[in-house]
Symmetry: C2
């Protein structure tokens, strides 16, 4: 599905440099001096899912997915990471989940050793980061719990919009229809049909397949 058969070793082929890491804004700002920048091509694996990662990551640009491949071959996206989100936290049990860039992405890497030292000094940070990850998963659960596909897609759009920098009353989707389908655990065709249904209902409008404007937010929440 993706151009590069980026294998496990691909991680080491990613471009890392210590020059000018992304803007320091989160609680990890104290670690920015030792942070390392990394760039990823779309579809590339960010770290080897089979061994504990050496770094924590913060997404700066682009989008990242954390997914699990089921026994029947289906792929399920467990988490969608947008700029500002942290990654590498729950890796203890997340072992075996693959983490890939969806679009070309830049990340900032923090050495685990340094992060743990920082957390030792300031444990409130750990709690804040954990609660962010928990909040993402809970929102995901709430979306999956909705009844119809149109509700799920609408809630997904609003959720992504809320997590993106304010851009008027619309969003530019960082993911394909296939990614939406795997995130919502429904088929691609149903995603497409739900989007056209939302359009016909007057809830959204398209300015390009991935550029969506919100016309009636209430109409997006109804099945």
């Amino acid at each position: 599905m993706f151009e590069a058969a980026s294998s496990i070793e691909s991680t080491d082929q990613n471009h890392r440099s210590a020059s000018s890491p992304g803007a320091a804004q989160g609680p990890l700002a104290a670690l920015d001096p030792i942070a390392v920048k990394m760039t990823c091509r779309a579809g590339q694996e960010i770290y080897d899912p089979h061994r504990p990662p050496k770094y924590w990551y913060r997404v700066v640009t682009g989008a990242v997915r954390r997914c699990s491949i089921q026994a029947d071959g289906r792929r399920q996206i467990l988490d969608l990471l947008l700029p500002g989100d942290l990654l590498g936290f729950a890796s203890l049990d997340g072992l075996g989940y693959s983490v890939e860039a969806i679009e070309d992405a830049t990340l900032v890497c923090y050495a685990r050793r340094e992060v743990e030292t920082l957390l030792q000094a300031n444990p409130v940070i750990a709690q804040k980061m954990a609660s962010e990850a928990l909040a993402r998963l809970e929102r995901h659960l709430l979306i999956l719990g909705r009844v119809t596909a149109a509700e799920k897609v609408g809630a997904f759009l609003l959720c992504v919009s809320a997590r993106s920098p304010a851009s008027g009353d619309g969003i530019v989707l960082p993911v394909s229809r296939y990614d939406i389908a795997d995130y919502l655990a429904i088929s691609v065709e149903t995603v497409s049909r739900a989007l056209t249904e939302l359009k016909h209902r007057g809830a959204i409008a398209f300015a390009g397949t991935r550029h969506i404007k919100f016309l009636d937010r209430d109409a997006m929440k109804v099945g």
Copy 2:
């Protein structure tokens, strides 16, 4: 749906005593001297969801659900807590979710102030607890991502079994069919039909409506 219209104040009607809290086994064992025991009747609210809780809780016996009421009146169970599980962690964003005992339950309460002092001294504990909560939510997501209702119910049974103390090759469900339905975001009738389908398929057998024996674990994972 539940007998006691246990309102917000019901929390203060719960019975608390400092005598012999539940067995100290987790990383919070160091706090057991200051822990307070609490007993809850089935259906009773454990803490007021509208204000930040004063305690952290550990389930000792019984079962607890954390749920969200949707705009359309549906109830969704976001987390199911069994003996040994910790509660009160993600309350920052979980504000507004109700937390109720499913069966009569006993919990151990830890004052937040004391917990935070402990975490200050030993931040690894916080990470361990957070990763447990994240693992529960991820497993929940994986279950919701399954295709057919029979798969979801089967995965739910196996998940509950794995989290319960080993009891041969079966479980005693701590929840009603309605709770399973709200956990899996499907209708009660579908839960019931999925269970009888699993029975007819030879995957499970019943010894009472809530006592289930596993006959063929592989057959439980197939749609």
